[in-house]
């Protein structure tokens, strides 16, 4: 399961905009793009959709990692050892 927060929700809702956010606090949102920043309501409305998106993405990453490890014939600990 992927954690969902405002940073990810904004990135999901506005994939073409640039912004900064402090401590996941929407009142600190700095919008670097020229578009209008999303409202809290807009973000709350897509919250579940964003969570499902990131969950799927996270699962995809886990599957890809498992497939890679399987193809290499090593465990996750062995992979970590190689990188260490």
């Amino acid at each position: 399961m992927e954690n969902i927060d405002y940073s990810k929700a904004i990135a999901f809702l506005r994939p073409n905009d640039e912004w900064s956010l402090n401590n996941n606090d929407l009142t600190s949102l700095i919008w670097h793009s020229t578009t209008t920043p999303p409202t809290k309501i807009e973000l709350d409305n897509i919250w579940e959709e964003a969570k499902n998106f990131y969950d799927a993405k996270y699962a995809e990453q886990l599957n890809a990692k498992a497939a890679l490890l399987d193809r290499l014939g090593i465990t996750e600990d062995e992979a970590r050892l190689l990188l260490g």
Binding site: E2, N3, A11, P15, L21
Partner: protein, 326 residues
Amino acid sequence: MAKQTFTTGQVLTAAQMTNLQQTAMGGGSPVQKTASYVLVAADAGTVIQMNSASSTTITVNTALFAAGDSVQIQNIGAGVCTVTAGTATVTTAGSLALSQWEGGMLYFTSTSAAIFFDIVQSGSTSPLTTKGDLYTRTSSADARLPVGTNGYTLVADSTQSTGLAWAAPAGGGKVLQVVSTTKTDTFTTTSSSLVDVTGYSVTITPSATSSKILILYDININSNPSTHQGWGVLLRNSTQIKIGDASSTRPQVTIAKEMVNFYNDLSGQSGSFLDSPSTTSALTYKIQVYRYGGSSTDIVAVNRTVQDNTDRPRGASTITVMEIGA
């Protein structure tokens, strides 16, 4: 002895001759005053001696004295005695205000004008006005150097008009002050250009232009190396102070270390820099970050991972600056 009008055949006594001689030598018995006084014609050739603990005046009016007459004025009292032009004019190169034990000669050039020859202050006045003032000199005149800040020392400084200046004691390589900020909350951005990290800056005001500022920093930063990276630049105010040399289109940064990791761990990066700002104005040091590569959906995170799942770490980042005395 007051000015006399002698008559033909007049015989002077020995005492009168002695008194005349003393007067001619600039002496004579003084006429003592204990309060403000207005000169009268009979004062010509005498010594007016003021003796008062309070401030007093000696006023000079017209039509009392002839050209060539003189009146000596002495002040032996604690109160300042001021020679004051009444209806006559009184000019001087010095001061008409006589402190205790000061004096001078009032010499009349006409019935309405006199020159006061200030014999104590020699034609100069003190520029000092305030406790702790120093009596100094510019290239052409005496000058006042106001007392310095507590703890400061007097140093030679040829750029100053008096050649002197007050300055903080030289630190001699010692740490004069330390300021530090630690950011414990998180920050995220998708900006592809440098942005401030909220709460991750420190301001210091050097006490001397010769001081150096030692900056120590560490920052926990995370991105997704498979798509993009989070890089940073150290700044003093708006000036980038620690970046690599320009080389073609290669980004010039302070930090760009990004380990490939499968686990979305924090990548703590630290460093230092010795800055020579040459100012005593307030300085703000900070690291700005930005996203390199990827797209606007890719997040750069400080003090947290991008993934930020509940098993992922949270970190803290510190920036510390030290003023090092020259």
